[in-house]
């Protein structure tokens, strides 16, 4: 279709791969190659991450002073957009739409996803959604928080709620389509011999994520539609003045948004399973349990949404049930943490960058998850709801967990994706900076939260200043930490040393093909005879 390589001699000499088969923007924008689409996604979500991150930096600056620096209007718009952009346009699509999109077909020995064109469509939907949202920002922003609670969002707010809601709605469909694609692909496209018990854990966790996306997202879509109706036509569905119940919106919203937090962690867990296995040169301890726990999380996560509503006047007995179920869903997470740790036992552990991120993930996710238990317990939730304790909790799991996993995975598969190596020393340095910056930013927020500092405020009592200053300092370190990989990745795409097919000595189909892969991944469909983590002879542990 597009003009074939009027490329430099250097490129012409290169093996043909998915990056250089075709050139020109058309070959990218109309591609149906899952790898190219993953690349498009990678660029778009990175852009959105920096949009969201810049907002975070701005409002963190505001929080240096107790009385605030910006007006409350500005501040409210900043954190709302930060939440919306980060959740719906960065973290939800982060690993699934990039790494998993790239890797699932390869890992299961397929040429592409089941529906390549739907895959492209989902990217376009994502972009449309993002445009709507950016448009909302440009017009003056949204000030409802990422949770869009009625009746504030439906009746009172005079910001650009509609276009933001539209944006999220459209992006939601993009997410549904990605999930649908994964589910069908995993069911139908596995290479001969790739049985369920041989699937890499990364595939398992993304399969579970797909279920969450497919089952949860439509409910978000409908609840946002109802908000939109209410805003446009004042139909009264969430309007207490005519007997509508604002709490109903919260039920519908959290029915999606709680499972969504697992959409935002399961793929990360999958990445960590791969990394830990590879850099310990060992099969994952308790493969079945790790795989099964992903599914358990996916199913159980739909039973706990009410834990966001303990203080809204939700019925007492319902709250108790939701509290109990929230603890249930924590068990499979615990299983995973223990299994990763056990995987290193008697391994051969190396400290390459991806592994450093995996360490970071295990540590920070544990802290974030354990503080989730504080919130699942009714009495301590009452004491901390709506405060910075919550903010700290979810940044620990989302940034300390998922973003770490995303970066880890990106480093791990970077050679495969681009065919280039990144500078290891810089990468280690950045990982360290990010770890330090992260803890400095968010640990003080636990303390602030129990002291009672509410979230979403632009001005706060002076006695909280010291901790807030610490937190802002941490955020700037963190910001710099995120810039470094940006720079060396950009460098590496053009100038990085060529990567071999299997730089880490890892197992798995993706490492058996060239880096970067050709358009159809495999010359002929592979026949799988081994399990995913075949690092050598086996020894049973008894006991």
């Amino acid at each position: 279709m597009a003009t074939i390589a009027h490329g430099t001699p250097e490129i012409a000499a290169e093996e043909v791969n998915y990056l250089n088969v075709e050139h020109g923007w058309k070959s990218w924008l109309f591609t149906t190659d899952h790898k190219r689409i993953a690349f498009l996604y990678l660029i778009s979500i990175t852009a959105m991450f920096f949009v969201g991150g810049t907002m975070a930096v701005l409002f963190r600056i505001n929080l240096l002073e107790p009385e605030g620096i910006f007006s409350s209007e500005t501040y409210n718009r900043l954190f709302s957009m930060h939440g919306i952009v980060m959740v719906f346009f960065f973290l939800v699509p982060s690993i699934p739409a990039t790494l998993a999109n790239f890797l699932i077909p390869i890992m299961i020995g397929a040429k592409d996803l089941a529906f390549p064109r739907i895959n492209l469509l989902s990217w376009y939907l994502y972009v449309f959604g993002a445009i709507f949202t950016i448009y909302a920002v440009a017009r003056g922003g949204v000030d409802t928080g990422w949770t869009f609670y009625a009746p504030y969002s439906s009746t009172y707010s005079n910001s650009y709620v509609l276009s933001a809601v539209m944006g999220v709605f459209v992006a939601g469909f993009s997410s549904i389509l990605t999930g649908l694609n994964f589910i069908v692909t995993v069911h139908k496209m596995r290479a001969p011999g790739m049985t369920w018990s041989r699937l890499p854990l990364f595939v398992w966790s993304n399969y579970a994520t797909g279920l969450l996306q497919v089952l949860g997202t439509p409910v978000l879509a409908i609840s946002l539609t109802l908000i939109a109706f209410e805003r446009v036509a004042h139909v009264g569905i969430f309007d207490p003045n005519i007997g509508g119940d604002p709490i109903l919106f919260q039920h519908l919203f959290w029915f999606y948004s709680h499972p969504a937090v697992y959409i935002m962690i399961l793929p990360g867990m999958g990445v960590i399973s791969e990394i830990v296995a590879c850099f310990s040169r060992k099969r994952v301890f308790g493969y079945n349990f790790v795989a099964f726990s992903s599914m358990a999380i996916a199913v159980l996560s739909f039973f706990v949404w009410g834990h966001h509503m303990f203080v809204t006047g939700e019925a007492m007995y319902t709250s108790v049930a939701f509290s109990f179920l929230s603890f249930m869903v924590a068990v499979p997470s615990a299983i995973k943490v223990f299994n990763w740790t056990a995987t290193m036992y008697k391994g051969s552990v190396s400290f390459d960058t991806p592994m450093l991120y995996a360490f970071g993930f295990i540590g920070l996710f544990t802290i974030g998850g354990l503080t989730g238990l504080f919130l699942a317990a009714l009495a301590t939730d009452v004491a901390t709801h709506g405060t910075y304790f919550i903010v700290a909790h979810f940044h620990y799991v989302m940034v300390g967990g998922m973003v770490m996993a995303f970066l880890g995975g990106l480093h791990y598969w970077w050679p495969k994706i681009t065919g280039r190596l990144y500078p290891e020393a810089w990468a280690k340095f950045a990982a360290l900076i990010i770890f330090i910056g992260f803890n400095l930013t968010f640990f003080p927020q636990f303390i602030l939260g129990y002291l009672g500092m509410p979230r979403r405020i632009h001005a706060y009592p002076p006695e909280f200043q010291a901790l807030n200053v610490l937190s802002t300092a941490g955020a700037s370190i963190l910001g710099i930490g995120y810039l470094i990989p940006m720079i060396y990745f950009a460098w590496s795409i053009r100038k990085g040393p060529k990567a071999p097919a299997n730089p880490w000595g890892a197992t798995g189909l993706e490492w058996e093909i060239q880096s970067p892969p050709t358009t159809y991944n495999f010359d002929e469909t592979p026949i799988v005879t081994k399990e995913a983590y075949d690092y050598g002879p086996l020894e049973e542990v008894v006991g």
Binding site: G286, F338, Y345, S348, T366, L378, A379, A383, V541
Partner: protein
Amino acid sequence: MPASLTLLLADLQLFPPAASAQAGPIDDLYWFEIIVSAIMTVLIFAAVILFAWKYRRRANVRATQIEGSNVLETTWSIIPFLIMLIMFWWGAKLFFAAQNPPKDAMEVFVTGKQWMWKVQYPDGSHEINALHVPVGQPVKLTMASEDVIHSFSIPAFRVRHDVVPGHYDSLWFTATKPGRYRLYCTEYCGNAHASMSGWVEVLNDRDYANWAGGGSHGSLAEQGQQLFEQNGCSTCHLLDQQGRCPILRGVYNKPVQLDDGRTVIADDSYIRESILDPNAKVVSGFQPNIMPNFKGQLSEEQVIQLIAFVKSLSPPTPASQQGGQQRPVVIAPKAKAPAKAPAASAPQQ
């Protein structure tokens, strides 16, 4: 800068004061959780570091492949789960205990609106973004919102409850330490959400008596009586003789028979609803659509005054103790309770 730094650090506070009866027990749970978390975190960090170091990659040393172990898996599912059960049970117990106020609780009314808290006392005084309570006395807050969802929170008491428009929410505590504590709105409610905060003053008995003594305006019930006249309620609701309308004397906290066969207890929420949406529950034997709808004409504060007046028409009997705001000891449906015959839906204990 060091000077300002020391200033900052001088203010540095790491743990909030515990100034209510429920703060202590909740803190105990909190500490339990912290200790469990600390132990787990340390264990996991230690294991990760130990394994990573001990089994670091060396030439000629290969990893030992291990399949897994069902015994281990079961252990590390069951033990955390048991620990979590403790957290669950403990948290739920405290939560249950925080549900219903004791019968002798003093009642204070709170109205949240963008962006302030208005506090009204039974004696008729009111204040904005401030709450005065006596030490050692259970206080029940009955809270309404004029517009969006707010959330009333006093960190030093470890209490918090959302205030959702459309009905009453409530909250109670017993302050134990005289002093000034912050109160906040912790549900995002728009532009000035941050300034919807103020102070709770816990006073000892003498100070409280002094503070409370100063009221010159009539009591809440008297203010309500005025409204009752001004809004023409008195034209229909004659105090002692029944016209087209039910007599309001003695109604409060008594069961009311509705025209659709249900029975509800005439508590605050029921009376509020009777004023703002009279047709929602029509008293049996009366016509719907007669009583005008006062929504939009009365603010939540005024409704509170009217309720106080209606309440004052039901003088406390020995059975219903002081103040009249007691809840029946038996489990009774809250008035917001939609549908369902109470007999069927009220679980015993």
